[in-house]
């Protein structure tokens, strides 16, 4: 088999971080080579070097057998390297088609654009992906999942021989992931080499041919996916074995109701949603892309206005007009889109962790207690193992997964009675994930009511005491947690469109 | 020894009027072999900027200073500083509420504008509506010319009604635009007084663009465009001061004062009304500038 990429002893340093320490990596034509490692291991950095975004500080890189040092993405593209970035980088004011073909617009004479051809070509790509997106839709108005689809479409449109996918499925749910895998398999048969980065371990078995593991910027090893058990790969990643746990459903019959939502409505997005969560309970929310879970969460949190509906906290109806009202009532919401809604990425870790709790650190004159803020931040850095050179590193310089941990720390510190986590483990590595699961369980044990929205069914099933399922803005049912409920049960409800409106299974 | 150095701090710089003052000052500088500099703020509201200029001028340890105060009081502390340093100050264009300036070379703007009012009355037959396009609402020259005109009309020409006073900042284009609006609002208008060169040209332009007939335009100062408009009959006439004379006299008085000679405390450089008929008289053409 031809070797498309051969990276040897690659070195990379950032101020204060030795991000890559003599890393090896190679890619063959027609294979899917998974690159695994904890958050901050250096995966994205390695791929940015391959795609010409960063220069390397040492080592050698061969593309198609020739020494290559692409200076800039354009050169890398010319060498056949395409990349789907971990962080979405789209032009929000432009349409899907305009985004996909930016820099390569079909043109008429005199620099005029051929908009028709542009949209037609985009439609072609969407069709080939079996994706029902309108090429003329403005990207900024799309949900994060759809935006991710646009990114994928853009990368595919380059017809690169080497395709890097940096956590393409972080924002996708199972059905969408399945479609992506169909595309990947087709590309494989065409001889394209794919580098695949993901924190979803189950995807490895489905799609990867070989797996390279990195830890702390160092190369750990490369193994065949087919004959290596997942647990071994995890051990290579985290340096120890992780035991998997079963969900234990506590007896909550006597617990008081913490949050009750009645008849929540807003346009087409939320159509009459009612449910309740008890103290000490973890309520999972499952559903397909665009099911309206995020909308419900934002509505409860006061981030978006409501048409009608009633929200009671601890039995008292309350009027929530803004997020500050919600927080005052003890409700916290961790957004699914950390970059836009979760973090001030230009500020440091400390500022972000304390953002929701500043009043705790303020004296009567409005002065901030820096020492106390530093101390709690460093506590969370340890507790969540956030890889950062210090608590005053700017958040934008952290790896994606570590940024997510900062958002989690922010809400853990706020210590709300009712916590809504929207895709809390997006982009978080397996080791950290199990730590976060433990944390959520501890929070529940302490009597907090927790809502977890997740597009990963295993996660929902692993965590939830009860599972609410949504489809097209309606709550189609609430299932009990634990081993009795299967993935099929959930999918059944998640695809239950209109007509059949009877909720299945009631609260325990 | 070094040449004598005399900075002139004026009220403006870019306007033709101030350039003419500068020309007069330059002439005197050549004649008497002294060195001068000439500067002024962008517009006549910038009182504090003018004071910063005065401060910088003082730092240069000049022989004497020429100063056209934007505000009659604001600069007094600096003038006191000049006096303490033994630097004689000559005021030009406008006076200062202080006895520090040894002489003041200026035009009586109130009287000049009153003359414009008289001419306006004469030309429109003593009755009808007129308007004023002024260059500034708050500066000394703006106020004096406006009020000189208005008061004279009120006092001497009861048949004339001043329908509106509007301010175009001396900006040719803005004055054009607002003249057009005035003409629209007052179809029976007989005359317009423009209180400086930019205003006057704006008025002439606006009247021309609107194709209005029978409007008597009286301007202020000169400049090529205004002179031509007067020659062509588009404008009836204008008041001219003697800017070149102001500049010349200021520098001359400054030199004499620095030599310890006595200078007259008020140097009236005079003003004239000119129109197509008299503008080529040597006495008038001498004070007009392009």
């Amino acid at each position: 088999m031809t070797v498309l990429v051969d990276m040897k002893a690659i070195e990379k340093r950032f101020p204060g971080v030795h991000a890559l320490k003599s890393v090896h990596f190679n890619l063959r034509a027609g294979e899917v080579h998974a690159l695994m490692g904890e958050n901050g291991a250096g995966k994205s950095t390695l791929m940015k070097i391959l795609s010409g975004i960063y220069g390397k500080d040492g080592g050698e890189m061969l593309i198609n057998g020739k020494v290559a040092n692409p200076e800039g993405p354009r050169e890398a593209q010319d060498l056949g390297v395409g990349i789907i970035h971990q962080e979405l980088s789209l032009m929000n004011d432009l349409t899907a088609a305009q985004n996909i073909f930016i820099g390569r617009e079909p043109r008429l004479s005199f620099g005029r654009l051929d908009e028709k051809a542009l949209n037609a070509q985009a439609q072609e790509i969407f069709d080939s992906m079996n994706l029902g997106l309108d090429p003329k839709a403005i990207v900024g108005d799309m949900t994060i999942a759809k935006q991710q689809m646009v990114e994928i479409a853009k990368a595919l449109s380059y017809r690169s021989q080497i395709l890097i996918m940096d956590e393409p499925t972080a924002a996708l749910n199972d059905a969408e992931i399945a479609e992506l895998f169909v595309i990947i398999r087709r590309l494989k048969t065409e001889g394209v080499g794919i580098i695949y980065i993901s924190h979803k371990m189950d995807e490895l078995k489905q799609i990867a041919d070989r797996v390279t593991v990195m830890r702390d910027g160092e190369y750990v090893g490369t193994v065949e996916a087919a004959d290596t058990p997942i647990s071994k790969i995890i051990a290579m990643m985290v340096g120890r074995e992780l035991e998997s746990e079963e969900v234990v459903i506590p007896d909550l019959s006597n617990a008081e109701t913490a949050l009750e939502v009645l008849g929540l409505k807003r346009g087409k997005e939320i159509r009459d949603v009612s449910f309740s969560v008890k103290k000490g309970e973890i309520l999972g929310f499952a559903g397909l892309m665009g099911a309206g879970r995020t909308e419900v969460a934002r509505a409860i949190f006061g981030a978006d206005p409501l048409d009608s509906g009633e929200i009671s906290v601890h039995g008292n109806v309350c009027k929530i007009g803004s997020p500050s009202d919600a927080v005052a009532h003890g409700i916290g919401y961790l957004s699914e889109d950390r970059k836009h809604f979760g973090l001030a990425t230009g500020m440091d870790v400390r500022a972000n962790v304390v953002m929701a709790s500043l009043s705790e650190f303020t004296d009567k004159l409005g002065r901030l207690d820096q020492a106390a803020m530093k101390e709690v931040t460093q506590d969370y850095i340890r507790q969540l193992d956030i890889r950062t050179p210090s608590d005053i590193q700017e958040v934008r310089l952290l790896s994606g997964g570590n940024q997510q941990k900062v958002v989690i720390a922010k809400w853990l510190l706020r210590d709300c009675d009712i916590l809504i986590f929207d895709e809390p483990t997006r982009g978080i590595d397996v080791g950290a994930k199990s730590e976060i699961y433990k944390l959520l369980n501890t929070l529940a044990e302490q009597g907090r009511a927790i809502i977890v929205i997740s597009s990963e069914l295993p996660e929902v099933m692993r965590l939830s005491h009860r599972i609410a399922v949504m489809c097209e803005g309606r709550l189609t049912g609430i299932l009990s947690g634990g081993s009795k409920t299967t993935q099929e049960d959930i999918m059944h409800l998640a695809t239950q469109r209109e007509a059949a409106m009877q909720p299945v299974g009631e609260a325990p | 020894a070094d040449k004598m150095y005399i900075p002139l701090i004026s009220k403006g710089f870019q306007h033709q009027f101030w350039q003419a003052v500068k020309a007069g000052a330059d002439k005197a500088a050549d004649e008497f072999g002294v060195e001068i500099t000439f500067e002024g703020p962008d517009n006549e509201t910038m009182v504090d900027r003018q004071i910063d200029m005065l401060a910088a001028a003082l730092a240069k340890k000049p022989t004497a200073i020429g100063f056209a105060a934007l505000d009659s009081q604001a600069a007094i502390p600096l003038l006191r500083q000049a006096k303490e340093a033994g630097i004689p100050v000559i005021a030009f264009d406008s006076g200062v509420d202080s006895d520090i300036p040894l002489a003041t070379a200026s035009t009586d703007n109130v009287a000049a504008a009153a003359l414009a009012a008289d001419k306006m009355a004469e030309l429109i037959g003593g009755k009808g509506q007129v308007a004023v396009v002024a260059h500034d609402q708050t500066s000394r020259t703006g106020i004096d010319r406006r009020d000189g005109f208005l008061n004279q009309i009120k006092a001497k020409h009861p048949g004339i009604e001043v329908v509106t006073v509007q301010y175009g900042g001396g900006d040719h284009l803005k004055s054009t635009e607002l003249t057009k609006a005035i003409l629209t609002a007052n179809p029976d208008l007989k005359g317009i007084f423009g209180t400086n060169e930019g205003s006057a040209i704006g008025v002439a332009n606006g009247v021309q663009e609107m194709g209005a007939k029978g409007i008597t335009i009286i301007g202020y100062d000169s400049g090529k465009a205004q002179k031509e408009a007067i020659r062509s009959g588009l404008m009836a006439g204008a008041i001219t001061q003697n800017p070149v004379g102001i500049g010349y006299e200021t520098v001359k008085a400054a030199i004499e004062a620095s030599k310890g000679k006595k200078v007259p405390s008020a140097i009236d450089t005079g003003f004239y009304y000119y129109d197509a008929k008299n503008m080529d008289n040597p006495e008038i053409s001498a004070v007009l500038y392009d």
């Binding site: 004011d93 | 962008d42 057009k180």
Partner: protein
Amino acid sequence: MTAVNATKRPSIFSHLIDTGAHQKMLAFASLVLLLVGFSIASPNFMQMSNMLAILQATSVNGVLAVAATLVIITGGIDLSVGTLMTFCAVIAGVILTKAGLPLPLGLIGAIGAGALCGLTSGTLVAKAKIPPFIATLGMMLVLKGLSLVISGTRPIYFNDTPGFDQIARGSLIGEIFPAFPVPNGVLILFLIAGAAAYILSRTVLGRYTFALGSNEESVRLSGVNTEAWKMGIYALAGGICGVAGILIASRLNSAQPALGLGYELEAIAAVVIGGTSLAGGRGTIMGTLIGALIMAVLTNGLRVLSVAQEWQTVVTGVIIILAVYADMVRKGKT
């Protein structure tokens, strides 16, 4: 890739389109409201001659606002439009009057000088990475000074160039339809606006204008030579300022070297009132035109009503805020 088909939900998309058209209609409505209000308040307001005066008054500021729109959509700002206009007028004066060259050379010279200065600003912004505010503030001062230097701090008259004043003041339309003597300046404004709108919506340059304002880094990572395109956009804007320079010189039949300061804020105000976001990425030329017209109608109307100058200023401020507030309310932002 589930079958959440956007075309199956026409409501969302068509809603967006609706809102768009709706919005422009309503922005236009603000303008109409002003026109109607002034017509009622003063019988003199709604005359053909005054409407033409308003259009003529829009022409220079409108052209500058079109130039500013281009730069603002890229996420930049151009403070030099006013003094650049003056500079170009002075250049035309030097070519036509001082050198006595033929008219077309003067026009080309003015527009060329504008484009060159725009290119310089563009280079400072794109290559030297100087924030647009500072780069164009610097250019504003440099050009202000150079206009005075080149002209010898005195106006240059175009008396020796017959027909020069007809560029803005004459009326080709009036020759055909004597009832509508729309001045050529207005015609030129609409031509420039039309061309700019076409460039923005139909050409590669326009596409990159929006793309740069939307997410410059992503455009760069897509392999586009963002620096070159940005410089191109600033140069185009500069060239348009050159046209404004010709217009104002023609109206005043002279190049007034001291003019131009303060015009930049008026132009930017027209752009923002027209709904273009200062953050970049979105905006329309149509909106800018309406914005410029709103400003011109407001100024003219208050003058026609003979409102005292100081109150004119107050009312203008209030109405600018209200116009944009209405826009926000109908966009449902508040």
